[in-house]
């Protein structure tokens, strides 16, 4: 057990190194930032000087070495746009994104798992079939469009929620978050629902498949013949065994959620790191782009690692070692 975890850990480090190379290559090929920083009338000498200041005149592998060394110290350079350390910009924007992701996750679990269990328990009922069709419909929705419709219906037509932005902040346990105020929640709820929609759809499918499989097992028949109530059979017995793959997928979906915050945050003008990343792409802010990519990659890779390790802990039948 310990050996596989160590093995997996080194694998994680190796992947991270490859990712730094890819991120470096990618940001390198995004057009030269010098032209954005200097006025159009800049002379050749001024361009060369600016390139030298940014270290863009050095050979590629030297640039990569510098990039890696600085990245390890958390130094990605100053954002061209905010004119301060890219990492500090990201860290400042991160709480807004994390609170959005947290609420989305809670919504996903509260809606997705019960619906999936019911659909799986009675696969031939009309309500179950409608749930399944609904989940296919859910994954067919472009999330940017859902966000727009939400704003139009709930903010513009009904006037229930604010159009955009993050609401008033309060503090819970010393953390500044909009989850502490009513105004904050009113701002948060639409983007969270938008983000949750396609997630809920896939959790429903997965929970249903798992429940369906469990319902055929002998221990369920035994519990039933013993006279255990339906609710207890479904949520006390079947769900427990369905939960392993569901928890895994929930973990992996965190990555997808963080990716989709870029779109949702842009539509709702939510001041998180997703919107920041898209803004950085359009303003060609290389330090921010590379810091964001590395930060998010590290998160994804770490989540994958944790999910894998948890998997072996929860389910002793799974072994990560051999293939």
């Amino acid at each position: 057990m310990f050996k596989t975890i160590v093995q997996r850990f080194f694998q994680m480090v190796a992947v991270m190194i490859i990712v730094t190379m890819l991120v470096f290559a990618m940001t390198y090929f995004i057009s030269n930032p010098v032209y954005l920083l200097l006025p159009q009338t800049a002379t050749e000498a001024q361009i060369a000087q600016a390139e030298a200041e940014l270290g863009l005149d050095k050979p590629l592998f030297v640039q990569y070495g510098i990039f890696l060394k600085n990245a390890l110290r958390g130094d990605f350079g100053n954002s061209y746009f905010y004119n301060r350390s890219a990492l500090s910009v990201i860290l400042e924007k991160m709480p807004a994104t994390l609170e959005l992701v947290l609420v989305t996750m809670i919504l996903t679990v509260l809606i997705g798992i019960p619906l999936g269990v019911f659909a799986g328990a009675r696969p031939n009922k009309l309500s179950s079939k409608l749930t399944m069709a609904g989940s296919i419909f859910g994954v067919s929705l472009p999330s940017f469009w859902v966000g727009m419709i939400m704003i139009y219906v709930f903010s513009l037509m009904l006037g229930w929620t604010p159009v955009s932005g993050r609401g008033e902040l309060g503090s819970i346990l010393g953390i500044r978050t909009s989850l502490a105020t009513a105004d904050g929640w009113r701002h948060l709820i639409l983007p969270a629902i938008t983000l949750a929609l396609s997630n809920v759809a896939s959790i429903i499918r997965l929970t249903r498949a798992g429940t369906q499989e469990q319902m055929r097992q002998d221990y369920i028949k035994f519990a039933r013949s013993k006279g255990v109530g339906t609710r207890q059979v479904l949520f006390g017995h079947a769900l427990k065994n369905t939960l392993i793959p569901v928890v895994t997928i929930l973990g992996l979906q965190l990555g997808d959620l963080i990716a989709f915050t870029t779109i949702t945050e842009t539509i709702f003008a939510w001041p998180g790191m997703g919107k920041m990343a898209l803004d950085a792409i359009s303003s060609n802010d290389r330090p921010i782009i590379s810091a964001y990519l590395l930060m998010v990659s590290a998160m994804f890779i770490f989540i994958n690692f944790v999910v894998d390790v948890l998997y072996t802990l929860i389910d002793p039948r799974v072994s990560l070692g051999g293939e």
């Binding site: 994954v139 469009w145 139009y152 990716a259 792409i281």
Partner: protein, 298 residues
């Protein structure tokens, strides 16, 4: 040639798959929807009131028309017009051509790459297998939409670039599935037999391996067309997809978003709804195919 096609058609008609297809209302409905969508994309420009991307055919006096039954609308522009006098229905028809083109061609490209790498990995094994599969593992830990976004920011806008980005994003799923199935087919006795009589590897792959992995590929490819159409729309919505000169449903939505706050909801609602209809129809068909052809792929 025609004779063998006829034979294949007859055997398809006699199959259980065909019987199930004919009896499934969902499969029939989604096929019908897809046929209509395809028909509109191919022949639609013949009966749309204007070419919305030819600036000379636009007339500013038609601007801001609401959709048909509303007051002040024009039945010729039944989905309304935008601030430039562009007919939304025409724009949708033209935009759907781009969506379908990118979805289908993108899947053809990425399935070709994925099948090639998957067969290589599964059939030959060894270091090639480890290399390809490790690469796939790494890529799979990143959401496709994020990879596509950053690739497009590096490549720049353009239909060709969107196709490249989709190919690089989508090959993994195909490679993984094909590798897995190749591994199990390779152990079959008929493959051993083919090897014993001295058939070269490429013939074994083409004649015995590929036909056996085809059903999974068809299921995956169908689902992937829907995914790709969504990704293209999202990229174009964000200004990272096709260039402004190309018609695109995603870009229409983003144009519409700007004027939505002024009450012009139809400019963004109808194009988005059309994306939903296309992708929903494809996904329903894909779901049916998966249940029929390869329930393992869930």
């Amino acid at each position: 040639m025609a004779n063998s096609l006829k034979k294949q058609w007859d055997s398809l008609k006699g199959s259980q798959f065909y019987a199930h297809y004919r009896r499934s209302p969902v499969a029939l409905l989604s096929s019908a929807l897809l046929l209509i969508i395809l028909f509109l994309a191919v022949f639609g420009p013949l009966f749309t009131p204007q070419n919305p991307f030819d600036l000379s055919s636009l007339d500013l006096s038609n601007a801001y028309l609401p959709p048909y039954p509303r007051e002040g609308s024009d039945p010729a522009f039944f989905m309304g017009t935008d601030q430039q006098g562009r007919d939304i229905f025409s724009a949708i028809v033209y935009g759907s051509r781009t969506s379908l083109y990118i979805g289908v061609v993108g899947v053809l490209l990425c399935s070709a790459l994925g099948i090639f790498l998957g067969v290589l990995a599964g059939y030959y094994g060894g270091w090639l297998d480890s290399l390809i599969m490790r690469l796939a593992d790494i890529q799979l830990s990143f959401p496709s939409i994020l990879i596509a976004m950053f690739l497009m920011s590096a490549l720049g806008r353009g239909v060709g670039n969107v196709l490249i980005a989709l190919m690089l994003v989508g090959w993994v799923k195909f490679a993984r599935t094909v590798r897995g199935e190749t591994l199990s087919v390779r152990k079959m006795e008929y493959v051993d037999a083919a090897r014993v009589i001295g058939l070269p590897s490429h013939r074994i792959i083409l004649r015995y391996i590929l036909p056996n992995v085809m059903t999974s590929i068809i299921v995956l490819a169908t689902m992937q067309v829907g995914t790709f159409i969504l990704i293209e729309a999202t990229l174009s919505f964000l200004g990272l997809g096709v260039p402004v000169t190309e018609p695109s449903l995603g870009m229409l939505c983003s144009d519409g978003f700007k004027v939505m706050f002024g009450g012009l909801w139809w400019v963004s609602v109808f194009p988005g709804l059309y994306i939903v209809v296309i992708v929903f129809a494809i996904n329903l068909l894909g779901d049916f195919l998966r249940d029929e052809l390869n329930p393992k792929l869930k």
